[in-house]
Amino acid sequence: MTLPPTRQALVDAAVDVFTEKGLHGARVTDVTKRAGVAAGSFYTYFDTKEGLFLEVVEQSRRGLAAQVPRARFSDAEGARAWLREVVRLQVARLAEGAATWRMINAAALGNVQVATALRDQPDPLTRTLTDELGFWAEQGWIDPGVAGAVVVDALIALTEQAVQQWCAGSERPDLEEATAVITGAWTSILRMTPDGGVR
């Protein structure tokens, strides 16, 4: 008999509770009730509601990054296909979890400590992209003309905001179409031509 299942049950329940009520509005007992565990058991695993919230975000970030195939490419064509796959995964994840994404941002806006903790928390997708794009720049496959950290922030920012605005509209975004638009934007911004070479 191991304890971690209870911990994971709390995290899983917290995604729904935080998304419905927001960080500020959610109570610890809302989470334990949803998870079907005793109220006191919460404190076996977490010190605070905010601690649980950060765990929710960290698992979500890890979950996305885990789906991203890790690879080093011998040519730009492989790199291009990988980029498209990363965009597709990110668009799907953001469209599916649009309400959760809004909740996380609202929490960060409403609580400086949470915002700071989120900024300092490792983001595996950002790290992977920074690594890959740095290598591609050395290979001459891309030439964005700005620092690697800036371009990675820009690509993620563009994707998050675009999907969020699509989801706010009346129609759900078509995954393939959205992926095509965002991938096109990424490759243009990185200055990578359709055949993989630099413009």
Binding site: A154, E160, A168, I189
Partner: protein
Amino acid sequence: MTTERTPQTTQAHRTRGALLRAGRRVLERKGLHKTRVSDITKEAGVAAGTFYLHFENKDDLFRQLLITVEDEVYGELVPSRSGGSVDPAHRIRETNLLYLSSFKRNAGFWKSVEAAALGQPDLPDVLAERNRYYRSRTERAIARWQAAGEVSPDVDPATAAFVLGAMTERLAYIWYVFGHREDVDAAADDLTRLWLNYLGIG
């Protein structure tokens, strides 16, 4: 949609300005959702009924605030100085610098706007309306540059305006609400480079 009931006297103009400034202070302090019209009139030191001589409701005041803040950027650009086409790289950098400078100066306001947009499902109407307006300006500018042969014919102006607008808005939040990027000039250089890459210029 915008009220045109504003009386055209100096005193009325002053009262309207006082209500806008008070509305902004209350909004940044309490958030749009919790702000009541009576909080605004109290803050401005005017009678409760006065509010409705100038604005239809809270959302109308909010819309006017958005226009005022946005005009810091676009007001500067409105006069077509040369009357004709301006070099895209120059114009894009100028717009980005004004946008980021204004965003940084008004970061507290934009923070409360974003909080309201995230927390209030019916609010985005006001914001979406402003977004569409500015996006259509960008779209027309890109189409003009395209017609002049300065932007690649492969670029779709509407998609470009959407994508670049989304990137710019979110980066501004990352740099000035969630973070503290001090160098607005360097930030404008970076942002402009990304726009030009997308548009296939330079």
